[in-house]
Symmetry: C2
Subunit: 498 residues, 2 copies
């Protein structure tokens, strides 16, 4: 139940809105005397105090002028001087949602033209082999809450903007972690904390690529990275991916480029580790072209065999590699925490870019994460979920063999949170039918075609149908069930297309 105060607020709000609307739309022109508070109170059945409050507010907002001992009057200039079509309900007459009141920038136009559709939500009971989301039950809730509590108890006396590169506690802890876990050597000066790796890509696109400038990308590849570059008007130069990753032999023929975006530790989506010889070729190409190279190290935590740890950054003696990492694959994509290891020459420019963009990453979660890294609980967590994910991957591989055997070919099982599954003798054009048939079996699967650049349709026609199958959300028995149903769907599609 509303209190008296709240009721009065409600009544005075209504009266205020009524007078404001009539003043703005010209029903009460400038100079119109307002009724006395006594008269209006009597007329509306309100207290004089309520009416007085409304008049005070109208005066404070500049709609009326009050003078002691005289009637309040509508202020000069308070009326909207719309030359025609003045309406009593002007406020509610918003233009059609697609009518722009002003213009868009070239970047705005690029972004408006991107296809950034949301996937339709998963229905209850559906088994979703999606790649990207993590399971809430894998999150180290207790450890995280303990860290948050500790951080909240030690709030600093002065809440002010931080270094745009991020909180120093986290950068120190991260430096030690990267050295230990990735053999990556850098100073804390070179480390910048960002709002997920997407922001790292956005900053690179913005600060390094001019409109029309060439950006080499892997095809198939991580489309959200491509979109980050396209947003700034970059020209995507697609290099093929074979069983070893980016085909570096193609680089020379791709034309002028300012940047290359690669996933050398675990090519997305194909899953290969870029061989050392190709790494050298890539860096030589970058040196010749004076191009930057982004190394997106998005899921190196999930190597299930001997873990290759050499980063492209460690081979870079020219300061052209920007190493990007994330906590979205080990903690949560909702946490929005990633990092960049910047070449020394770019540190100041990127710090400036980050500051103008959004000042710095939020402090609380950074400090909590620093604690997890410092006290070893992050490493323990990673070891734990690596085992969990390996069990899930094993279940998926087993189920694929059991239910589809020779009909499928699997790529990328050495690491990561997804597999690429190719369907032998099923053309790529049948992917949609397979997805739909699976949906009939309450299974969500995700075709690989959208990860190819749309301009490469010729490649599409030569390929088999393929799926990117994530397993991070699913337990072993569900995975088995899902693959069994997928096999049914596949049979159906083969019968239809066969």
């Amino acid at each position: 139940m509303p209190t008296d105060d709240e009721r009065r607020t409600g009544l005075s709000r209504t009266l205020y809105e009524e007078f404001r609307a009539r003043i703005v739309d010209g029903t009460f022109p400038a100079g119109t005397p307002l009724p006395s508070t006594r008269a209006l109170a009597a007329e509306r059945g309100l207290s004089r105090a309520t009416v007085s409050l409304v008049y005070e507010q109208l005066a404070a907002d500049g709609f009326i002028e009050s003078r002691t001992g005289a009637a309040s009057r509508v202020a000069v200039g308070a009326t909207q001087a719309t030359p025609s079509g003045r309406s009593k309900r002007a406020r509610t007459k918003l233009p059609a949602p697609d009518r722009l009141a002003g213009s868009l920038s070239p970047i705005g136009q690029h972004i408006a033209s991107l296809k950034l559709a949301d996937p339709s939500p998963t229905a209850p009971g559906e088994i979703d082999f999606v790649y990207g989301p993590l399971s809430g039950s894998d999150f180290p809730t207790l450890t995280w809450m303990k860290a948050l509590r500790a951080v909240e108890r030690q709030r600093s006396r002065r809440l002010e903007y931080e270094d745009p590169r991020g909180n120093m506690e986290l950068r120190r802890a991260l430096q030690a972690h990267l050295s230990q876990a990735r053999g990556l050597a850098c100073s804390v000066e070179q480390l910048m904390i960002v709002s997920g790796s997407q922001q790292a890509l956005d900053l690179c696109a913005r600060l390094l690529v001019e409109p029309g400038g060439g950006v080499v990308v892997e095809n198939p590849g991580y489309r959200m990275a491509h979109h980050a570059f396209e947003a700034y008007g970059a020209k995507l130069l697609c290099a093929d991916v074979d069983a070893y990753g980016l085909v570096t032999e193609q680089l020379a023929a791709l034309g002028p480029a300012q940047l290359a975006y690669v996933t050398p530790t675990h090519q997305f989506p194909m899953g290969s580790f870029l061989p050392i010889a190709r790494r050298h070729q890539l860096l030589e190409w970058a040196a010749e072209r004076h191009a930057w190279v982004i190394e997106d190290d998005y899921d190196s935590e999930y190597r299930y065999a001997v873990r290759p740890e050499a980063t492209l950054q460690s081979l870079d003696n020219r300061g052209c590699v920007i190493h990007v990492g994330t906590f979205s694959k080990t903690l949560s994509p909702q946490m929005r925490l990633g990092y960049m290891v910047l070449p020394p020459a770019l540190v100041e420019i990127f710090a400036g870019g980050k500051r103008v963009t959004d000042r710095h990453a939020a402090t609380g979660v950074q400090r909590a994460l620093a604690r997890l890294l410092e006290d070893g609980s992050y490493d323990r967590h990673v070891r734990r979920i690596r085992r969990l994910q390996q069990v899930r991957q094993r279940a998926l591989l087993d189920a694929l063999t059991r239910h589809m055997g020779d009909e499928v070919e699997v790529q990328g099982a050495a690491s990561g949170l997804h597999l690429v599954v190719w369907f032998r003798a099923l053309p790529a054009t049948a992917e949609r039918a397979l997805v739909d048939a699976a949906r009939q079996q309450a299974v969500r699967v995700h075709p690989i075609s959208p990860l190819f650049h749309p301009s490469k349709t010729a490649q599409l026609l030569k390929r088999s149908a393929g799926l990117v199958m994530g397993y991070a959300l699913l337990e072993a028995d569900i995975i088995e069930d899902g693959v069994r149903r997928l096999a049914k769907a596949l049979l159906q599609v083969r019968q239809q297309t066969g």
Copy 2:
């Protein structure tokens, strides 16, 4: 003390690094056979297991090729093919930090040219009348921790990317809050949560302003907003600010513009509430030019008299006003949470822009803030700190009267977390001397001149010296002490310049 495992990690890391360096720099060319694990273990005093591990890692990283029953050999292509100047210590020979390996984009060049210097840190014992930071002791720590705990306990089953406009719980709570506290009517669709208001400005600059496009700004004004526009190559069109805020009569003469950035509720730094007639003029100008208008509502919570609540957004019947707000002034600037109320026609474009930029704001803090808004504790907190800030402002006003009386003129006391203090008969050119003399008295004060656009030096010469004095960090007795010392500094400066 390191465990055996860690010691082995340390030793194997050293050995790994040594071999990698020699392979990469060509000391061990392709095809070179490696010593047997037995021989190397004996030579280095290591276990064979350690050496085997290192060889496995080198093979996994592609530096060597292992064959069962034969010596491992350096892999073809593992050597860096630097044509000249090959060095055994190539890895450590980074270029000079100012030598760029590639080029910068126009935006990168703009940002590199901005003056974004950090203020020097406050020394212990210094009294800092800075505007911006909040006091850690004003933060509602217990309420916040309770909200964080509740949120952590209700983690969703599926951790996935959210709507780029932000968490729906927060957007619903915020919609109700804005309606109640600001009389602002909007749908949850129009609301977008951003990483502080700076990100809102950055998105507007990026999506709405083309390079060379005009942006009207207040002079003096909020320089970090100006920088956001300058980063994208915008041309700043400076309009003067008088006692009533932006001088809208000047708009017509400023030339073509795509956007205007204003602080109508509380002009920064001068503190005025833009009168209704000027608001109409601004919106008419925007309609004629097809320009967008950003309404930065950065501290409307701190009105100490009757609170004007009319927003520019509520007068907009064309869908050209973008309303921007923040929690940096009521909770903490380190939290990085702000919001935008978008015209319907811009919703989709800004959602796309936010998604490409950094996906969405972090989920945890959004959900915790939603709880504060829903259960009324945010409102209670705002009422509490408004009283606290008013006490501090009163202390500052009293101290200024007591110690400097007629020597100063104060502007902007009706609201906010700062005052503008003008020093009569002291020229603007003496600001630096005043700041330095105050520093000698262990008082930090902040001149107003940097808030004027650098191109307006003529205006500077006509002005008196002025300070922007913030009080949010200081308690009443410290404020009194600080102003007493500032008066001493002023006397000193007057004697020097007089």
